[in-house]
Structure formats: structure tokens, C-alpha cells
């Protein structure tokens, strides 16, 4: 009973912290000369008030869910992987490569499967590099993964301006459009089956982390690496595995962006998605199921950002501020279990 009232109290406190942030952002909007109540209203009506808006929120949320789950997996192993951004980009790059150069003349499903493998491989290579630097050289993974994001942007640009450039695009830096048969099937206007994949990944990850021996090992290491070492766990191996799986999932998120959403690679494909996914994971305290919800919230804020621009003329980056404020509210409130530990 006590537990239940306590968790209700915690939930209420979270809502309160979020409400305060929404008010703070409202005041900020007022200083910019717009009516916050009207803006908030517009945001909700145009995103959740029609099927197109809802579809957009779902489309945006899918990659965030994947990256958030990926972030959670590495976090459970005691690693702060902020490289979802770069891993997604390299995954998208490799998937596009396969689509443009290899899978053109293959049957659709085979081609899609190949793209999926390529995406996962790309992401895993990118996170694996950071993993190696961590376990072999003791380099801080938070720093290496962020720095590798910048390198990934440059690699993507190198190819999109280079051999992957669409000859028919004139000066626009983008890859050729991938064949129709390589696109993921649509389940709704503009929404591909990618969302099912994302949710499935989250559920499976949750189950594995919670119920399996493998998940248990991960949690022990994440809890106390030193103790795990004494208990005979191979910390380096498990951390490396966590990084590889984490990168593969982010890479698949990149593949889904290509095959399910954009249809071609641009230099802007997936930019910031890695960070949004990371924030979604932290907002959910690295719980994969809760990350579905936080990802949808962030997806909603992303789509709402465009509304901000259309209806008030303010830059859409305003929602980045709102997003940061929301997260600060959650960090301020804390997990609520500190006294026990």
C-alpha cells in the first residue's frame, strides 16, 4: 500500500514539474510577443486533431523509440552511449548504399532484408569502434560517441556529395531515390510498418532485460562493474556486446528512415534524432517500455515545432527549448528513489 501511494506521489510530482516547464516556456513565448495559450492550442489541434498530424507524430516517434531502446541497453551495461546520432547516420548510409548499388535488381523483400542487415551492420561498426576504445583503451565512451557523431556527419556528406549523389538532382546534395519495391509497406497515410518494428524492439528488449539471464548480467555490470568483475563476469565482453547491439538498433532506425520515410539519403537525414532518442531514454529512466511513451512525447513536440513556425512565425527551434525544459524538469524531480540507495 505504501508503495502505491508513493508511486502516485512520484507521478504527480513529475506531472507538476512538467507543468511548471510548460508555463515557463509559455512566459518565454509571451516575451516573443505571441499568445502562448493560442500556440499551445494550435499545437495540439494540428497534431492530434487530424489523421495526418497523428501519422506524422507516429512517423517521427519511430526512430526515437529505437534509439532510446539502444541507449537504454548500453546504459544497463553501465555505458553512456550518446552516439545514436552517428550510428543512425552510418546505418542509413550503408542501407542506402545497398539500395542504390546492390539491391536494385533483387526481389523487394530480399532487398529490404539486405538493407536491414546493412543498416544494423553500419550502426554496429560505429558503436563497436566506441566500444573498443572503451574496453581496450579505457576511453570515456560519452566523449568518444559524441565526437564520432560529428565524424559521421562528415562521412555522410562525403558520400552524398560524392559517389552517392543523384546525377539528376543538379546541385542538391542527396542520393538517388531508392526503388519502390525497396520501400517498407505503408500501413496508414505516410506511416510505414517501421513503427511496429520499433515497438516490437522495445518490448523484446524490456523482456530480455527483465527476465533473461543475459539481462541480469547486464544489470549487475551496470550496477557495479567492480563487483561484477569479482563475481567472474567478463565485463569487457558484455559491455562490448551491449554497445554492438545498441549500435545495430540505432543503425536499423537509420535504415527505416531511408526505406520507410525519406526514400533517399540527404545530409539532413536523421539529424538530431540520435539526441532526441537519448533524451527519450533518460526521460524514461532507461526503461524500454516507458521510452515508447517519452519518444511519442518528443515526436509530438517535433511535429508541434513546425506548427509554431507556421502559426506564429517563430523559428521551429523553439520546441528544442521546450524539450530541453521538459527534460530539465524531469532531472530536477529526479528518480524519486534516492533515499533508498
Amino acid at each position: 500500500m505504501k508503495d502505491k501511494t508513493e508511486s502516485i506521489k512520484q507521478a504527480l510530482l513529475t506531472v507538476l514539474a512538467l507543468a511548471v516547464m510548460v508555463v515557463i516556456f509559455g512566459v518565454f513565448l509571451m516575451t516573443q510577443g505571441v499568445n502562448p495559450i493560442q500556440i499551445y492550442g494550435d499545437m495540439i489541434v494540428s497534431t492530434l486533431g487530424n489523421s495526418y498530424g497523428i501519422g506524422q507524430v507516429v512517423v517521427k516517434s519511430s526512430p526515437f523509440i529505437m534509439v532510446a531502446v539502444a541507449t537504454a541497453i548500453s546504459a544497463k551495461a553501465g555505458l553512456v552511449n550518446v552516439g545514436g546520432e552517428g550510428q543512425l547516420a552510418i546505418g542509413a548510409l550503408l542501407a542506402t548504399f545497398v539500395a542504390v548499388f546492390v539491391a536494385k535488381s533483387m526481389p523487394g523483400p530480399v532487398g529490404i532484408l539486405l538493407m536491414l542487415v546493412a543498416g544494423a551492420l553500419g550502426g554496429a561498426v560505429w558503436s563497436g569502434l566506441a566500444g573498443l576504445m572503451k574496453v581496450k583503451a579505457g576511453m570515456n565512451e560519452t566523449l568518444t560517441t559524441v565526437i564520432m557523431n560529428y565524424i559521421a556527419y562528415d562521412i555522410v556528406s562525403f558520400f552524398v556529395y560524392g559517389i552517392l549523389k543523384d546525377p539528376e538532382s543538379f546541385s542538391w546534395p542527396m542520393s538517388p531515390e531508392i526503388a519502390d519495391k525497396l520501400r517498407l509497406p505503408e500501413i496508414y497515410v505516410g506511416v510505414s510498418i517501421g513503427i511496429f518494428g520499433a515497438v516490437a524492439v522495445a518490448i523484446v528488449t524490456w523482456l530480455v532485460l527483465k527476465k533473461s539471464a543475459c539481462g541480469f548480467r547486464l544489470r549487475v555490470i551496470g550496477g557495479n562493474a567492480e563487483a561484477a568483475k569479482h563475481a567472474g563476469f567478463s565485463v569487457a565482453k558484455i559491455q562490448m556486446a551491449a554497445m554492438l547491439i545498441s549500435g545495430a538498433i540505432s543503425g536499423i532506425a537509420g535504415m527505416v528512415e531511408i526505406a520507410g520515410v525519406e526514400g533517399r539519403l540527404r545530409t539532413t537525414t536523421g539529424v538530431n534524432y540520435g539526441y532526441y532518442g537519448f533524451l527519450a531514454a533518460w526521460m524514461a529512466w532507461n526503461n524500454p517500455l516507458a521510452a515508447i511513451i517519452t519518444s511519442v512525447v518528443i515526436g509530438f513536440l517535433c511535429v508541434a515545432g513546425n506548427v509554431l513556425e507556421q502559426s506564429s512565425g517563430l523559428p521551429s527551434s523553439g520546441t528544442k527549448i521546450l524539450m530541453a525544459l521538459v527534460l530539465l524538469g524531469i532531472l530536477w524531480k529526479g528518480k524519486g528513489r534516492k533515499k533508498c540507495s
Partner: protein, 304 residues
């Protein structure tokens, strides 16, 4: 001539990172890691730019930058010291807030150029062959960064305040037993660090590029955090990392100007690759130099 331009470019380019390293060194010495240094720097860049644009006074611009960076760092401090929030997650959020705020508020200023700070050749010294113009024909913020190095060394290692700040990063209970307030000292370290870092952003906007571009720090704050490790948490070695980073960037611009046929994007990777190499070498030997309180934070940060 090539050497002179390279050296001069390395210093101009590297100075913003140098301030970032100075700032983050102070922060980490009190046992706090602030990935929001990126945010502090970008806020510093915009604040300095906007203020200089409107008041025509670069000095006021620098002041505004320091205030802006300080406020953002204070936010970080309140969360991680006052509320014991996760330092890495909070830092990234602060970075995100800084990037969001500046791209929002700075939109109307994009690519408008200003006079800002100009080069001030130092008599006699700037006449030294090869290195003279590189070292002593620079803007005022570069000269300040030269002086800041011994100044910070003095503050951290020769004063009572410095001793207390460093002790807070090593073992806060000792500081407490000594009768000082470790929390307050942490606040001082983090806010001071944010202010110094933000001046780096100011240098980037009003002295180096004379313009404002969205997200113009481009990872410099994160790189500064990485290079602090290379410098062994000591201001006296901060210049090494900063100028090699600046050199990698300057080399890229120079090669482009000479018409060398290497992709821009490959060249743009140099500074980042260098930072990774630097981390590699630093991680091999400098681990024991990390302040003890900070070590605790880093080791437990993924799940708290």
C-alpha cells in the same frame, strides 16, 4: 610563410577551445563534469555577437557572454549539486538548451557580419621572424588567453581558494571537516568554469569569424571537455591540445585555399580525429590525475 599562416591560424582557431578547456578544467577540479560547456560556448557566442552588434562595444559583448555562460552553468550546478541529478544527462540537456535558445533567438542575426575585435600587433614582439606575427599579431582575447594560463595556475595552486576548490574535487568530506562549504565551492567552480568557456564562444563569434551562424561552436565544447583529460586537468598544458585542434582546422582551410584536391568533408574530420587520438593517449596514463570525486561520478553515471 606557410608555417606562419598555419601557426597564426592554429592560435586563432584554437583559442575558443582553449577557453573551453580552461573553463572545464576549473569545473572538473571541483568534481563536476559539464558537457553543457558546448551550450555555454554557443550562448557566449550569440550573446557577444548580439551585444557587440547593437552597442558596438566588443567589451560589453564579452561581458554579456560571460554572464550568459555563467547563468547556463549555474543551471547545471543547481541540478547536479542542489538536486544531485545525473551529471552527464544534465550536461547534455544544458547543451541542447543552449543550442535551442541560440538558434531560436539568433535567427535574425544569421550571417550579418560585424567589425568586432581587430588584430592588435604588439610592438617589437610582432616583428620576430616567423613566429612574431603568429603569436603577437592577434586579437585581445588571444592575449588574454595567454595570461589566463599562469593566472589560473596561480589561482588553483597558490591561493587558499584554489586549494579549497581542488580539495572539493578530491574529497568533499575533508573540506567539510576543515570548516568550509564544499557545496558553495562547487557552485563557484562550475559557474566560473561556464563563464570562462563562454568567453571562448565570444572569441569565435566576434574575433575569429565576425559573424553568427546557428550551432557555430560545432562540438568545440565537447572537444574541450575531452581535451581537459589530455591536459591532465591542469591549465598549464591546455594550450597543447587547443592549438593542435586549431592547427588541424587551420590546415584544412589552408589546404583548401591552396586548391589541394581533398574532399572538404575528409579535411573537416581532422580536428575530431585528432581529439579521439588525444583521448587515446591521455587515457593511457592520465587516469590517476582525475579528481577523485569526479571519478566516482563518472563510474556511476550510466544508471543513476
Amino acid at each position: 610563410m606557410f608555417i606562419t599562416s598555419l601557426l597564426s591560424g592554429a592560435i586563432q582557431c584554437g583559442t575558443s577551445v582553449l577557453y573551453g578547456i580552461y573553463g572545464e578544467t576549473v569545473t572538473e577540479r571541483v568534481g563536476v563534469i559539464n558537457l553543457g560547456t558546448e551550450g555555454c560556448m554557443v550562448v557566449g557566442a550569440l550573446a557577444a555577437y548580439v551585444c557587440t552588434y547593437h552597442t558596438k562595444s566588443p567589451l560589453l559583448g564579452i561581458l554579456m557572454a560571460a554572464i550568459g555562460g555563467g547563468v547556463l552553468a549555474l543551471l547545471h550546478a543547481i541540478l547536479v549539486i542542489g538536486r544531485k541529478a545525473n551529471q552527464l544527462a544534465t550536461g547534455l540537456t544544458i547543451m541542447f538548451l543552449g543550442l535551442g535558445l541560440t538558434s531560436f533567438l539568433g535567427q535574425q542575426y544569421v550571417s550579418v557580419s560585424i567589425d568586432g575585435l581587430s588584430m592588435i600587433p604588439i610592438p617589437v614582439l610582432s616583428g620576430i621572424p616567423v613566429i612574431g606575427t603568429a603569436l603577437f599579431n592577434q586579437d585581445i582575447l588571444v592575449y588574454v588567453s595567454y595570461i589566463l594560463c599562469p593566472l589560473l595556475c596561480y589561482l588553483l595552486f597558490k591561493t587558499r581558494l584554489g586549494l579549497l576548490l581542488r580539495a572539493t574535487g578530491e574529497d568533499e568530506e575533508v573540506v567539510f571537516a576543515y570548516g568550509a562549504n564544499p557545496k558553495l565551492l562547487r557552485y563557484i567552480g562550475v559557474v566560473l568554469g561556464g563563464m570562462i568557456s563562454a568567453i571562448g564562444g565570444a572569441q569565435l563569434a566576434i574575433a575569429y569569424t565576425h559573424t553568427w551562424i546557428e550551432n557555430m561552436t560545432n562540438g568545440r565544447g565537447i572537444i574541450a571537455v575531452a581535451l581537459v583529460v589530455l591536459a591532465g586537468y591542469h591549465p598549464k598544458k591546455a594550450m597543447i591540445g587547443a592549438y593542435i585542434f586549431g592547427g588541424a582546422q587551420a590546415l584544412q582551410l589552408l589546404l583548401q585555399a591552396q586548391g589541394v584536391h581533398i574532399s572538404t568533408f575528409i579535411l573537416q574530420m581532422f580536428p575530431y580525429l585528432f581529439t579521439i587520438c588525444a583521448l587515446f593517449f591521455a587515457s593511457r596514463k592520465k587516469v590517476q590525475a582525475m579528481p577523485a570525486e569526479l571519478k566516482k561520478i563518472i563510474e556511476s553515471s550510466a544508471n543513476s
